[in-house]
Structure formats: C-alpha cells, structure tokens
C-alpha cells in the first residue's frame, strides 16, 4: 500500500535532524512544496524539527505531545510510534512534548463549524482545511476535543516508519548489506545472517544521511500493538502511590503558595490586609495577584491557614448575582435577536407543527464544576534569563505565551514542563493558576514557587460547564415521528474561553447546538436553532462541551415524540437513522442489551440514548429499577464507532468512565450562584457519583469507516438522556431538568 507516502506528502513532512549523540525524527512546522527537497535548505542543527522519536547511545525516547489527564493518551501515542518503529514499549522512555508549534492539533479542525462530521462533501472538507491551516499558523498544541487519537493516527505512525527505514539505510551504509534484505524487531535492524544491530548503535550514522521519506505503513495484519490489549505502562506506579503528579513536584529551596481571588469570578480586589497572616508560623509573604492575593509559606497547609485570615475588599460580580437571573437570561435569549444559528431546517417545520397535535416541553441543565480530584497547581521559577513552569496543562503553548507576558521574558525563554495530571475534564485548558504562580514567583526571583489551590478555591473559581435550556416541539403521523423542532439557549462557551485569551471568534458558536443539529436522523420536518444568551458567569469546555447539555436535550426531545407516536424507542431511532455507522451502533446496543422494548416488568424500565459528538456516534442503554428506597441503575450498555481501535483497554475505560461521568452528574450535581458567588465549593455541596450508585457497564466499539476518532468525550452526551428515558419507562415521569435527584431519590 502506497498510502503512507501519500499521507506523508500531503499532510505534513517527517524528517530527521542530528541531535547531541544521535538523531531525532519528527515533523516540520511549515508545509513545503513537493518540489522543494525537505532538508536542502536546512543547516546542520537548525531547530526546524519537532521531535517524535529521539535515538541516542543512551536509548530510544518517544515524544508524546498530547497531555495525559488519565485517559491513556501517552500510551496511545507511544503505541502508534512503536508499531511502525518496531520497538517494544519496555525498551523506550516517554517524554511529554514541550511547547512547540509543530505539535499543532490538526484533528480539532475536523469539527469545522457548520458542517456535519458525516459530511465529506467539498464544502465541508475545504472548510476543514481552512481551519487546519489556521491551527497550523496559530500552532495550537491542545489536548482536547477527543482529538488525540485522530491527530496522532497518521502523524505518529509515519514518524515511526520514517525512523525505521532511515535506520535501515544507516545499517546498509555501515555493513554494505542491501536494505531489502533487512528486517527490524525489538529496537534492532536484523541482517540476513541474524546479526542484530541495535538502533542506538545506528543513531549517529542515521543523523548523517537523508531521511527515507518514501515509507509504506504496515498492513493491519502485521500490527503487534494497534488493536491489541496491552498493560498500561503507568499502571504499576498508579497502583502503588509512586506516580508523581503536578501537585507532587518538588525542587530544592522551593516554597509553597496558595491564592484566594475574588469569589465573584473575574471581579476586582480593591485592597488586602495580610498583617495577621504574616504573624503566623511559616508565612513568608502576602502578595497581590490579579483579582486577589497569594500567600507564600514553607508548607502548603500553613499557606492555606494563613489565606483564611487575610482580609480583602472585593468588587461585585461582573455578571448576574443571583441564579434566578441566569435562568431568566436564557429564557430571554429565545427570540429573533438571540438567534445564533440554524444549521438544520429540513422540510416545513411550521406547517407540520400547525397540522398536528403538538408535543412540547422545556428542558434545563445546570452549571457544573470540572472538579478533577487533583486540585490545580503550578510550580514556577523566575530567573533573569529564563522562566520554568512545571504544571499539568492541556495548552502548553498558551501557558508559555501568557507567562512570558507576565515575567517580561521572550516566550522562547519560558520553558513549560508538562506533568502528569490527576484528571482534568477540561479544567486544565485554563491557565490562571500558571499566571498567578508567575506573578507570585516574580516577587521572589530564583526561588521555585509551588502554587496549590485549596479545593474550595479550585471549585469556587472554576470556569464551569455552561448553563443551558431547550424548548422542543414535535408531531407524529401514522405512528411515526413527523417533526421535531428544537431551540437551545446558552451563553457562548467559545466566547468566554477565547475571551480570556484576548481573542474574539466571529460568527455563530457551533457549540451552542453541538450534539443536536448534526444528529443523523431523517425526520421529515426537522429544525435546530441556537440562541445565544448574554455572557453570564465565566464558562469553559467541560467534558463534551456543548454536547454535554445538548445530547440530553435532543435525545430526550426525540424520545418524547417517539412515545407520542406509540413507536418503540429503539426501532424508531433505527428507522429514522440515515447514517450507516450510526445505525450499526444502535443495532449493536440493541443486541448487546437484549432490547425488547422499554418495559422490563413492574417498576423496571430501560431507555436508549443516542448522540453523535466529535464525529463519534454513541448509543447507550440504561436499565433501572424504581425501588422502595429510590431509583437504582442496574446496568449500562455503551456502543460507539471509532473507526479504528488503537488500545482496546483504554478505549473501554473511556466508554465506561464517560458514561458514568454523564450519569453521575445528571443524578447529583449542580453549581448555583448566590450574591455572585458559587454556592458549592467542595464535594459536600457538589456531589458526585459514588461507588454504591455505579452500575456495571458493558461496552463495545465498532470499527466502521475511514475516520479514526477519539473516545474521551462521546460517551458523555447520551448518558443523561438514556437514564431519563429509562426512568420514564419505569415510572411514567419525564425528567426534564438536571440534577435528577431534585425529583427522585437514587440508591
């Protein structure tokens, strides 16, 4: 198959460069014309190459630019390189990529605005390629949008293959044996007589020759890693308390710090008084930071204790102070003026609604905190000539740029070291903690400062999941769904998030209708309208972003109309589905769950939820019992189509963990505001799923089509819908707002 070659030429260029004691393989930032030989204009040592593989006498290092928040991203990236390089994972060391423009994330542009992920037409692909070019220019090294696997799929395999073939060429130069007669295995080139030459011994020669770019990727039948279950390389460390996270980072002479900023997020701090705090043991300084203050101490707890006695003057919230006003703002957005997009308008919805009995309802979904279990933190050391930042982040390039602005260094002299994260769910797309650590560290040059948020600060200052509302109407005809009209109102996540980086994004915000407008149902009269509410409390990407609310709205709305039609929830969804992969997903979840209708006997029921998000169709069936003590979730089935399974264990965990994430928050969680402040600031108020509530989850991944997709988010959106639909089947009560525990007890 000559596909590898085509891919390498089209999308990016993998080359090599000499590094101290060896050779590195990686991607070049700028797409060069084909007739321009890759290395012709590169001087020796020119830093145009961004590494994926580095081979020196000391060993082989795989560089994995996408951050690992627990989703197994390092593992997946390493497997892709190792598959083509012919090396085993126990022979390599892994290094997270430093901030570099060439690590741009091309897969994020797959979610181009206004085109469905099922749309491969000219318009859609050209829009995607405009987005891709923009990503490249901006050099956005982002972990998010479930893009790690999609982004890495071709790039990292080609990097591995180019490295392998170049090492064979190096062996040919050293031995005179023809490349065609060589094989590779376990990190060595093998000659026809069985002699093994380890890659590390070929590194210097490989650095000296033109990289072999005309590579052929392996046939799937030859894969040793891809699609095979492997032990996660971090599992022993994570089972023995020996995995270090950002919060565990330590340097000699390091001091501890914490911050408190205006509890009305984004509000100003007028004054601070740290006199009492300064008298406390171990406290070294109380310093201003943007919107609040920091305390420097010799121990994290002493910093926390001191922060409690610092007094400060806070401004009012720069948004509506009371929760009821946030809901009112959403209600007000349902108007012509508030209309942001109408990407779907099939048939004649107004005529259809006028012709039949209309089913209508209103849905709500609250603000939610990210609340990864590791509170956010960053360690920063400011020296005259350089700044070092050690932190768990999804956006190292932004950290580099923003810290440089604060300390006044050139961005090139700001070194961001990405550390392992104790969860994120989108939280570590934000970088206030790094900016604050830089502000504090700037007051004590050459002293490393580890800034740790208290849980209360982490939750009170979280830029939450958006609040959202939906209004649905629908009609039926001859026992089938005839029309569905869905309007969704929310503030713009993209505007809030990009606004904090000083960027404005023109045009509609596709996230307002993501997980709704692009659903591949062939409903004769079908309209999805996005309404943009005014900016309220600051919000951010929360695992599955717009689809986290809209998957619930859209699928429950459809379920209501299907019920009105008297049709079976599974059969009618399958009948309406025009996308083959999505239909296969529904059929598979029906088969896996033994679906024979929503009723499962007295007080028992099952519901199906479907949502396509991030290009991945995902269907879930939830089974519940309405017990004397409350609703019990008995069992959950999850099926999705990812195109190609890279690491089946990691994938299954993302499917089951994503479903439980969606269910747990739907049951228990909300963030509300009072006097401009977040009312829930720890896990006593912001409740989350506990072990006793967690059902067994069965998963199945399909491998249909050409697109390789990631699974970090798509299992979230269908979960709340499947649960609400199951509760309806068991009790006859429709749940239209989260958290569900406001209406039912859960056991």
């Amino acid at each position: 198959m000559g596909r590898g070659k085509t891919i390498a030429r089209r999308a990016f260029l993998i080359g090599s460069a000499a590094v101290v004691g060896g050779v590195a393989f990686g991607a070049y930032l700028v797409k060069r014309p084909l007739e321009n030989p890759l290395l012709a204009d590169l001087a020796e040592g020119e830093a145009a190459l961004t590494e994926y593989v580095r081979i020196t006498a000391d060993g082989v290092t795989l560089i994995t630019p996408r951050a690992d928040k627990g989703q197994g991203a390092y593992q997946v990236q390493a497997m892709l390189i190792a598959e083509e390089l012919d090396i085993d994972l126990d022979q390599v060391t892994m290094e997270p990529g430093p901030p570099a423009a060439a690590y741009y994330n091309t897969a994020l542009s797959e979610e181009a605005p206004g085109f469905m992920p099922t749309d491969d037409g000219f318009g859609a692909n050209s829009m995607r390629s405009i987005m891709q070019a923009a990503m490249k220019v901006m050099g956005v090294q982002i972990t998010g949008g479930s893009t790690t696997t999609a982004d890495a799929w071709e790039k990292l395999r080609v990097a591995g293959a180019v490295a392998r073939e170049t090492l064979k060429a190096a062996a040919a130069r050293e031995t005179g044996v023809a490349v065609a007669q060589m094989t590779t295995a376990r990190g060595a080139v093998i000659l026809p007589d069985g002699t093994k030459i380890p890659y590390v011994d070929l590194a210097e020669t490989a650095a000296d020759i033109q990289p072999v770019e005309d590579v052929t990727l392996k046939d799937p039948s030859a894969w040793r890693y891809i699609g095979k279950p492997v032990q996660r390389f971090d599992i022993a460390a994570k089972s023995t308390g020996t995995q270090d996270y950002g919060i565990d980072f330590e340097l000699d002479g390091m001091l501890h710090a914490t911050v408190v900023t205006n509890p009305r997020k984004g509000g100003a701090c007028w004054w601070i008084n740290g006199d009492e705090a300064l008298a406390m043991r171990g406290v070294q300084a109380v310093v201003p930071v943007t919107g609040g203050f920091g305390v420097i101490a010799d121990n994290t707890w002493r910093a926390f204790q001191a922060a409690k006695v610092v007094t400060a003057g806070w401004s009012k919230a720069p948004y509506a102070a009371e929760q009821a006003d946030h809901w009112a703002a959403l209600e007000a957005a349902f108007s012509k003026d508030g209309q942001d997009s109408q990407y779907r308008d099939d048939g004649d919805i107004e005529a259809a609604l006028a012709a039949g009995d209309v089913v209508q309802a209103e849905y709500r979904a609250p603000y939610l905190a990210h609340a990864p279990l590791e509170p956010i933190n960053a360690t920063v050391r400011v020296a005259a000539d350089r700044v070092d930042v050690w932190t768990g982040t999804q956006v190292p390039r932004f950290v580099q740029a923003e810290v440089a602005k604060i300390t006044g260094h050139d961005a090139d002299n700001v070194h961001v070291h990405v550390l392992v994260m104790g969860g994120s769910f989108g939280h570590r797309l934000e970088l206030d903690v790094c900016k604050q650590a830089a502000e504090i560290a700037l007051t004590v040059p050459n002293t490393p400062i580890k800034l740790t948020y208290s849980r209360e600060e982490d939750m009170a200052q979280d830029y939450t999941r958006q609040i959202a509302m939906a209004r649905m109407r629908g009609t039926v005809k001859d026992g089938q769904v005839e029309s569905l009209d869905l309007g969704i109102a929310m503030p713009s996540v993209v505007a809030s998030q990009m606004g904090r980086l000083g960027l404005s994004v023109p045009g509609p915000d596709a996230q307002i209708v993501a997980g709704a407008w692009e659903q591949p149902f062939g409903i004769p009269n079908y309209r999805v309208t996005g309404y943009r509410a005014e900016e309220l409390a600051p919000i951010s990407s929360w695992r599955s972003v717009g689809a986290s609310t809209n998957g619930f709205f859209h699928d429950c709305a459809l379920d209501e109309v299907i019920h009105a039609a008297g049709a079976d929830p599974m059969a009618e969804r399958i009948r309406l589905m025009w996308d083959d992969a999505s239909r296969a997903v529904l059929e598979a979840v029906a088969e896996l769950s033994g679906w024979d209708g929503p009723s499962m006997g007295p007080d028992r029921g099952r519901g199906v939820g479907f949502c396509m998000s991030f290009g991945v169709p995902c269907a879930e069936v939830v089974e519940v019992t309405n017990t004397e003590a409350g609703i019990k979730i008995d069992k959950v089935y999850v099926v999705s189509n990812v195109g190609q399974v890279v690491d089946p264990e990691t994938l299954a965990r993302q499917m089951s963990g994503g479903a439980l994430w969606g269910l747990g928050h739907a049951i228990s969680s909300e963030i509300t505001h009072f006097d401009g402040m977040t009312e829930q600031v720890n896990f006593d108020g912001f409740e989350a799923m506990r072990l006793y509530q967690a059902p067994q989850v069965e998963t199945r991944a399909l491998e249909l089509g050409d697109h390789v997709r990631g699974m970090g988010e798509p299992a979230v959106p269908p979960a709340a819908a499947a649960l609400a639909n199951a509760i309806f089947a068991a009790t006859g009560t429709r749940l239209r707002e989260m958290p569900f525990r406001n209406h039912f007890k859960f056991v």
């Binding site: 460390a237 023995t240 208290s454």
Partner: protein
C-alpha cells in the same frame, strides 16, 4: 514530635493540629498520600493508623504520635505489591490514578476486617472514596480478586 510512618521513625517540628496529610506530604515527603478535599469527603488522603483506614486530612499530627502510620508507599512497592495493589494492576483500575492510593488503602483496611465482603459491604465501606474518572466497576472487580487472593494466603 515523633511519628512512625511505614516502619521508619521521623522527628518533625510541626503544630499539634497540622493534619497528618500535610506532615506526610510536605514535611516527611511521602507523596503517595493525596490531597483532594481537606474535609474528609473524597478519601484521597486515606492512610492506616494502627491498621485502620483514616482520613489523614482530618487526623491531627499529634494524634498519630505513638501509632503505626502506614501509607500507600509502605503498603507495597512496584516490585513487591500488596495483594490489593496487585489486583488493582491486574484489573488496570487506574485512569488518572489520583484517587487510587486512597481507594487501595480503604480496600486493604476493609479486607483486613471483612475477608469476604458482600456487595453491600463493599458499597458501605468504599463509598466514602470518590473517583472522578469513573473506575468504580473496576474497583469492585479488583476488590473481589484481592479478597480471594488474601483468603488463599
């Protein structure tokens, strides 16, 4: 004050009411013990004091004087895992892994007292430990495996 942690004695100069969590992490340097909430709602900081699981964020340092404190780092090592840790690795429980130190310490303490726990007993003993990644089904499976192994031993 003098603390015995994972079989080693440490002399520390801290306030009586400093939580054991922070003495372990910031003064002694045992980082396997995690901070998650500080109010005994998440269980990430779980350690054993005289064999019993406690939340180290709510245990004063002074109250651990004279007791045997065991942390995740003392329970076993990557080379010589405790049966519960080995079951956690076998079932590939961890995603981000941040809560797992506390989960493992809680499970080890439970199994020392209830060698063959029912599902209800597992629910009751383990529901104070929060996992945000959703590894609960794997935690349950690993406990069953560990319990069987410990009963054989």
């Amino acid at each position: 004050m003098r603390l015995t942690v994972d079989g080693t004695t440490h002399e520390v100069d801290v306030e009586d009411d400093m939580p054991l969590l922070w003495v372990l992490r910031d003064e002694i340097g045992i980082k396997g013990v995690k901070y998650g909430c500080g109010i005994a709602q998440c269980g990430a900081c779980t350690v054993h004091v005289d064999g019993v699981a406690v939340r180290s964020c709510q245990t004063w340092a002074i109250d651990a004087v004279g007791a045997e404190v065991t942390t995740i780092n003392g329970l076993g090592t990557p080379e010589a895992m405790h049966a519960v840790q080995a079951a956690w690795a076998e079932h590939q429980v961890a995603q981000c892994g941040y809560c797992q130190s506390g989960q493992i310490m809680q499970a080890a303490s439970m199994l020392a007292q209830i060698p063959n726990p029912t599902d209800e007993e597992i629910d009751a003993e383990m529901s104070g430990n929060l996992c945000r990644c959703g590894t609960y089904p794997q935690i349950r499976a690993a406990i069953v495996t560990a319990a069987a192994k410990l009963r054989e031993a």
